[in-house]
Symmetry: D3
Subunit: 131 residues, 6 copies
Amino acid sequence: MATVTLITDEEASPEVRAVFDDIRTTRGSDFVNNFWRALAHDPALLKATWDRLKDVMAPGALDPLVKEIVYIAVSASNGCEYCCHSHTASARAKGMTDAMYGELLSVIGMANQTNAVVNAMQVPVDEEFKA
Amino acid sequence: MATVTLITDEEASPEVRAVFDDIRTTRGSDFVNNFWRALAHDPALLKATWDRLKDVMAPGALDPLVKEIVYIAVSASNGCEYCCHSHTASARAKGMTDAMYGELLSVIGMANQTNAVVNAMQVPVDEEFKA
Amino acid sequence: MATVTLITDEEASPEVRAVFDDIRTTRGSDFVNNFWRALAHDPALLKATWDRLKDVMAPGALDPLVKEIVYIAVSASNGCEYCCHSHTASARAKGMTDAMYGELLSVIGMANQTNAVVNAMQVPVDEEFKA
Amino acid sequence: MATVTLITDEEASPEVRAVFDDIRTTRGSDFVNNFWRALAHDPALLKATWDRLKDVMAPGALDPLVKEIVYIAVSASNGCEYCCHSHTASARAKGMTDAMYGELLSVIGMANQTNAVVNAMQVPVDEEFKA
Amino acid sequence: MATVTLITDEEASPEVRAVFDDIRTTRGSDFVNNFWRALAHDPALLKATWDRLKDVMAPGALDPLVKEIVYIAVSASNGCEYCCHSHTASARAKGMTDAMYGELLSVIGMANQTNAVVNAMQVPVDEEFKA
Amino acid sequence: MATVTLITDEEASPEVRAVFDDIRTTRGSDFVNNFWRALAHDPALLKATWDRLKDVMAPGALDPLVKEIVYIAVSASNGCEYCCHSHTASARAKGMTDAMYGELLSVIGMANQTNAVVNAMQVPVDEEFKA
């Protein structure tokens, strides 16, 4: 149903195969999801996207679970079906409980609500908020 | 610059004043920011929004700082100038460091990037991700 | 501050002047707002946009005020500063009261809230809703 | 296909059941659509969303049909599949004719068109439009 | 699955049939895609949309393939499933190669990434960029 | 006015200075625009963003001007003020004429219009468009 076919392991070129292998090693799982199989049509884009994602989502000043939660919030606001599914699955795998998910949905809903109302009224930014 | 004037303390009706007072008490600060002063044109909307926001952003299964971080991510994805400013200020007041902010920007950027690429290709959702 | 300068009456070519005149006649006002003065850099785009807008916003099965209200809702959801200002002014000129504006903001807020929550959960469409 | 399962009447806890009952009574119909069955995973979010929606969509300064029309416009601009379906069905049930729907689509299209063009050119807001 | 049924050639009124015929003649193909069959419920909207689209997408200062590429970029950013599919098919028919598509995806991803990061930080526009 | 201050050449750390130098060399200009000065608060994010942007926007299967045109289209659809200004300036520097800009605005407007109308009606994707 995509605009491209999904590249199987068999069809993968050596560069693509190297990225698939790194995904498997990094995640400790044999599963390579469809996003990477679609991107594999352009090996350079596949590699650049995976290398950056691996770096960005790694533990750092923010916890990996918090990063997945941020990803869900962005994906829901943008209406990306695939991304909502894949990052909700990742967040659950990293420990997101039902209670956390319920609160996340509440914040996502509230933020989208007040964003739209603020935009409608074009509220000027308080001087106190400026850097 | 807004589509409505900002209601001052002097202009506030008793219902509006009651909400402003609750904002001050809840936050332990005398500052009432412009969003509430704009919403004050409709006291019922002001009260409903504040009551819900207070509830949603309170400590729970997710930390209040994580909730502010989610709010920034949504506001950046929607392009809400006021909300980016106000929630970045709130997040900093709740302990967001420069390192956390830098990683947050990285995740926001990455999520918006992959959302758009996934949408362009209309990647089908993997069966493994479905509830 | 725009990416183009704003075309004054003096700078307007005959085709542009003809559109400005029709805007003035249709609206019964001498005021030609900045959107048209920016579009005037491309006379064909100016004319196509104005001709279509005049037609779309005219009285029909939907009242012109309802059409302005829809325009505000779209503009708020897209975060278009100029459009929120211009269509709120138009809606007020066509009779939008403070009470109507307050309710409109409530619906805009609610719709953006539930849109995001539905997208987050990817709720399947009920069979009952399909045409 | 959602990120959560849909809660049936049999699975509903007493708090969830109370909301489902209020939905049925308020709408005068036995049908509880999937949005509420998905939200039911978080009874507090379910109740807060329904209570607010019931209030916001009730007759007031704006007609309930106008409110549904606004909801469609927001949902189309945000690309929310579920919401476009559910609110189009609601609007039709409240009297939206084919002629009204056609004009609504025209206004939604025009608003999204001019929003994007205004944003591209970053047209400055006319002084005449400011409150 | 749409909110309206799709109008077949047999069901088409004479005005609708005239537009369908013009689509066929202009494109040199018998195929009339679902977008036009859905719009056909409102013959005036169908005709206005087709007439404008035919004009906008015709060869001019920008090549028709560049116009299709722009259409894909907008559709991906807005998350429009149908539009991503239909305009990717059109772009390929007009000569978009796999290498071009891969680079297009890279630019779309980069632009959505930096848009969100710029919005998050609310970077002020450099004087050098203003017209 | 940003959420961060803008890093001047004097305040730049050696890593930041190295990126600023590469921006100057690559572009053959002494001008380093505000986006990079804001990002400079996080040297790793600055470097990752610049390195990727330089690569993505370089000549390839798509002409650099076409890439700037795509960037404008995405930025207009997302409502990013800064990005519309900076990429319109870049596109002009790379040869975008007034006629090309006018046609670009027409395509951006049309795409956003039909995206919203398609989303409103949830038109099913034609089998002919699927890969």
